[in-house]
Symmetry: C2
Subunit: 199 residues, 2 copies
């Protein structure tokens, strides 16, 4: 790979453009043709870069997928001041998560695509789980004792995963068309219970 | 199709054996090769029946999948007397559902396989949703006012879907290894709240 890397680099533009072009192309092709049928070679061809450069920047195809589908938002900004809201932490958390899903259909489509791939690819499922647990622990860890953190965050994750699945994939009536405020009111107490309830 | 049916029937054994053989073969092949790559023709070949007979018994490949992956248990037996249990309805419901998942690894594998296919096939997702909603409404409808039934059952479904996903697909630590009793204690109050809570 190192010789290919040497070959690839000189004829390429600025690094940041190549990275972005690879990511954009990967997003397009993964959603057009699915994860299985999209090769690194084909992404390289369409992006106009040597496949070895993709490996250099992103690693394996799994790595590229995770990078391509990663949300562009800054999680710490999205959840800033969650404890100071008028409602409970759980209600505020659900409201902000649903607002985030609803604010950018493209990002949501990407998140759903990643979930779809995760359910059939163990390694992607592992990555997605670690990413979600990292976010959830970062946002919610402040409210929970360390020795109960794993379980409580896992329970929160189970409900939020189920909500994505029910709303955007299974399109369950009653949830699919509910507003962020309604979901916050209905599901928020569950999150509060998982974070603060006796167990 | 009708001529193929006529051709197929005489050389076949009793109807019930053929149905079962087709279902068993379909289960094997769907889990070996995936839904996409398994053709009706290939199932027919391995089961030793004319593909037209499969169409006759089961309809489309989607129909066959749903029939093949349908649980063999009698739902009304599994949930009988749920209201008379010592714990709450929610805790008892979660306990029995998890017991069901744990009691038969083959059936669980089938349910997870169906979920995996559903997240990428809209029509299968529709079937699975209607099946789950039917079961959940049958089991839980007795506890809920008709005008709130849709939403309350949808919320229960979102949590139970998330629990399957977190436990068996994403293998989230804290949930993946928990016992039925623990999950019942942690998640049961959520179900109670979705069924009986103010909204």
């Amino acid at each position: 790979m190192s010789s290919a890397r040497r070959r690839g680099r000189p004829r390429l533009g600025p690094t940041v453009d190549n990275r972005e072009r690879i990511l954009t192309t990967a997003r397009e092709m993964f959603s057009e043709s699915g994860f299985e049928r999209t090769t690194m070679r084909a992404i390289g061809r369409r992006a106009g870069v040597d496949p070895a450069l993709i490996h250099h920047y992103f690693g394996t195809k799994n790595d590229l997928l995770v990078a391509a589908l990663r949300p562009e938002v800054d999680v710490s900004t999205v959840f800033a001041g969650i404890a100071e809201a008028d409602t409970s932490v759980g209600c505020e958390f659900v409201h902000r998560v649903v607002d985030l899903w609803e604010s950018d259909p493209q990002q949501r489509a990407r998140a759903v695509a990643l979930l779809r791939i995760a359910v059939t690819h163990e390694e992607i499922a592992d990555r997605l789980r670690e990413f979600f647990l990292g976010v959830a622990t970062g946002v919610l860890g402040q409210f929970v004792h360390a020795d109960q953190l794993e379980r409580r965050v896992a329970l929160v994750m189970s409900q939020m995963l189920g909500l994505v699945l029910a709303r955007y994939v299974m399109r369950v009536p009653g949830i699919a068309e509910a507003s962020a405020a309604e979901l916050s009111r209905w599901v928020g107490p569950t999150i509060d219970n998982y974070l603060f309830g006796e167990q």
